[in-house]
Symmetry: C2
Subunit: 197 residues, 2 copies
DNA sequence: GGAGTTAATGAGTAATCGCTCATTTTTCAA
DNA sequence: TTGAAAAATGAGCGATTACTCATTAACTCC
C-alpha cells in the first residue's frame, strides 16, 4: 500500500455538494463547480464516484443515514413507545433547522422522479426500523390498531413539512407551535388521547 | 395585427416540460429537449419565456393553479366546513394519481432552494384561500381553536405525502387506507371527534 | 395581390457540461 | 534512498447547454 487517502475526501465532497445544491438549485448542479467548492480537482471526484448521479445519491444516502441516526439517538434515552416516537418526531423537525442544507438535498432527491433512486436496500432498512417503532406503539396499546404505514403517514408528514419550513426560513421554529402540532397529530393516532377529561 | 398564435403554445410547452422533468429528473432538464418534445423550435420557447427558469416557474404556477382549482371545485357542492375540507383533502390526493407528472413537477419546484421561487403573489393568494377554508372550520366550531397554520400542517401534509406516493407508484391508492388516514387526521384536528361513544 | 406585421424557425454562439487520462505528487516498504 | 504503487491533478475531450437573431412563413387589412 502506498499513498493513502489524505483527509476525508468523501466528507469534503459531501459538504461541497450540499453547498452547490443550496446555491444553484436542483436544476443547475455542476460537478466541476462542486470540485472547485471542495478545493479538489474534478478527477478526484471520479475516483470516488462513477457518475454525477452516483455522487448525488451517495450524499443523499449519507444524509438519510444522518437523519435516521439523529432520530434514533433522540429515542435512545426513552423507554415507552409514546415518548420514543415523540423524541424522534422532534428530532426530525430539529434536523431541518440544524442542518438545513442537508435536509433540503434530501427533499430534492425525494422529489426525484427517476424511480431507481428509491429502491435502495439501506433506505428500506431505515424505513423498516421506523415502522417498527410505530409497531411497538400499536403493540403497547398507546396507538390505534391501524396498519403502521397508515400511522406513519399521519405522524411523519407534518414533521417533514415543519422540517422543510425550518430549513428554508432558517429561523428557529416556534417551540409552542411545534408542541401544538404534535399534540394534534398525537390526538389523531393515540388509542386513548386524554379523552373525556 | 397579423399572424396570430397558431395553437396553444404555452399548453404544448407545459406538457413537454412535464414530460421532460418526468423523464430525466430535476438535475438534467434541457430547454432544447423540451422544444423537441413539444415539436417546436427553441426560438419559440424564448418568445414566451425569457429564461429556462421562467419557463419552469410558469409551468409550476399553472400546476399549482390547477391543483387549487381542482380542490375548490371538489369543495363547491358542499356546505359545511367539515365536508368541504374533506372533499378538498381527497381532491388533493386524487390529483397525485390523476396527474402524476404535474404533481411531481410541483413537488420538485417546492423542494427548490432558491427562495425567490416561493414568494409569489398568486401563490400567496391561493394559500390564503385554503387557510380561509380552515378558518371557517374553526369559526363553525368543528375544528379545534388553534391557529389555522397549525391545523393546515396537520391536515395537508399527509394528503401531500399520499399524493406523492400515488404519483410515483402510479397505482390507484387504496381507498380504504385513504379513509383510515383521513379519519386519523380528522380525529386530531376536530373539536369533538365522535368521542366517548 | 401586395404591403405590413408578427409568429415561428433553427443554424449558430460562446460557455459550460460530464467525464477522461497522461502526468505529477505523495506515500510506504525495502 | 530508492522504486513501486496508488492518489491527486487539471488540461482538454466531444457533447450539450441556454440562448440569439437573421430569415422565413403565415396571417390581416386595404
Amino acid at each position: 500500500m502506498a499513498r493513502p487517502v489524505a483527509g476525508d475526501k468523501p466528507k469534503e465532497l459531501r459538504l461541497a455538494t450540499l453547498a452547490e445544491v443550496a446555491a444553484v438549485g436542483s436544476t443547475a448542479v455542476s460537478v466541476n463547480r462542486i470540485a472547485a467548492r471542495a478545493g479538489l480537482s474534478v478527477g478526484t471526484i471520479y475516483r470516488y464516484y462513477k457518475t454525477k448521479d452516483e455522487l448525488l445519491f451517495a450524499v443523499y444516502l449519507e444524509v438519510k443515514r444522518d437523519i435516521h441516526r439523529t432520530m434514533m439517538d433522540a429515542a435512545a434515552p426513552h423507554d415507552g413507545a409514546a415518548s420514543r416516537l415523540r423524541a424522534m418526531w422532534f428530532a426530525l423537525v430539529g434536523y431541518g433547522f440544524d442542518a438545513p442544507q442537508d435536509f433540503l438535498l434530501a427533499e430534492m432527491m425525494n422529489a426525484e422522479t427517476r424511480n431507481d433512486v428509491h429502491d435502495n436496500k439501506e433506505l428500506n432498512r431505515i424505513h423498516t426500523e421506523v415502522l417498527l417503532e410505530i409497531q411497538k406503539g400499536v403493540d403497547e396499546g398507546v396507538l390505534v390498531a391501524y396498519p403502521v404505514e397508515t400511522i406513519e403517514t399521519v405522524l411523519a408528514s407534518p414533521a417533514i413539512t415543519l422540517a422543510r419550513h425550518a430549513s428554508m426560513s432558517k429561523k428557529p421554529a416556534d417551540r409552542e407551535a411545534l408542541e401544538r402540532i404534535f399534540t394534534l397529530v398525537w390526538r389523531g393516532i393515540a388509542r386513548d388521547p386524554e379523552r373525556c377529561s
